[in-house]
Amino acid sequence: MIKIDINKKLHGVAGEMVLQVDLEINQGDFVALTGQSGSGKTTLLRILAGLEEAEGTLKVGNEIWQDKETYLKSQLRRIGFVFQEYALFPNMSVEQNLLYVEKDKELCRHLLDITDLSKLKNRLPYTLSGGQKQRVSLCRAMMNRPKLLLMDEPLSALDPAMRTKLQNEILTLHREFKTTTIMVSHDPSEIYRLSNRVVVLHHGAITKDGIAKEVLLQTNGSQKFSFEGELLDIIKVDVIFVAIVSIGQQLVEIVVSEQEKQNLQIGQVVRVGTKAFSPVIRG
């Protein structure tokens, strides 16, 4: 069990705010931390890692990392940290990067094995692709058998195919080592695939906490298929109207009747929804 009860004043883009987090995380949980930028996600990770100070207490199992009397230095907390940028030592080979953390050759071999990196162990980081570098970072973070693995948008710089591959490797590692993990992510598919709990931070405070399907499902009344978009135009066709709405990177058309049209104004933000029974899906 990890007990977090911290607060810290932050000077964000939107002015002053208080990061106030009271959270208990079970051993082995995979927690996705999400929310708008500037909501305090990265700061929370840094506080957990001991890279930034805050008021309050942190307890990991029976170990106190922080309370009124104690402040455990970052190096003494058994933490693995994976950043968006890879932060590898450029003058060390893949293997040396891992062994620098802990001289455990067997673990090093095993980690490189399951992430398919064994053949690259003597290469220097600059010769690797982004995906390979991030796999090395991930293995390196596991070398001290961390009690807590922290990942700050680890896959956001990668292309979609590489993301999926690394998500699978993160899952494999998590299943094998059962490391309690907190990962900052904005990607719903990533959160759904990896996490068993999602915590949403908004302006420094937890606003939602639950499983991915509950927290991230966009609903509209009882409708489960719902998107937010901007109403661009309404075109009359015969006795009906066609509303043009921009959703994400694309335009969609929705047929509306005269009655439905009455509450709509061009330019407004609208929610487009239908029942989960209606959409047709094709692979």
């Binding site: 009344g221 009882s222 489960k224 015969d238 006795v239 009906i240 009747s257 929804g273 029942k275």
Partner: protein
Amino acid sequence: MIEAKVIKIENCDSLHIVKFDFEGQALSMMSLELDSSVEVGTKVLLQVKPSHVAIGKNISGELSYSNQLESQIVSINAGKLLCSIKVQIAKDTILESIITNSSLERMELQDGDKVIALIKASEISIAKVL
């Protein structure tokens, strides 16, 4: 919108069939997860797309439509290919149906006709919990 009261909820895992009372007529809705605020006795506003409302006249035989509302046509607005028909399903509730003109002509629908508004249970949704 149809204001109705929940009278029964059946479920199988995340799938639900919710039955409503609307002015003495029974309605039924298929749904996946239900909001926790929806329980027997809850009043809700139900919605349906006008293009999902069919019209029946002098129906004989059985239809699979779970929702068959006795109603009366109050207006018909015919276009070139489609028409919008408004039917009164209760004193203060009007439902709109968009059907093809050819159906309108084939059925010889007229203002004041007694008809049945037909809606599949999978096409009704809760717009708002009251």
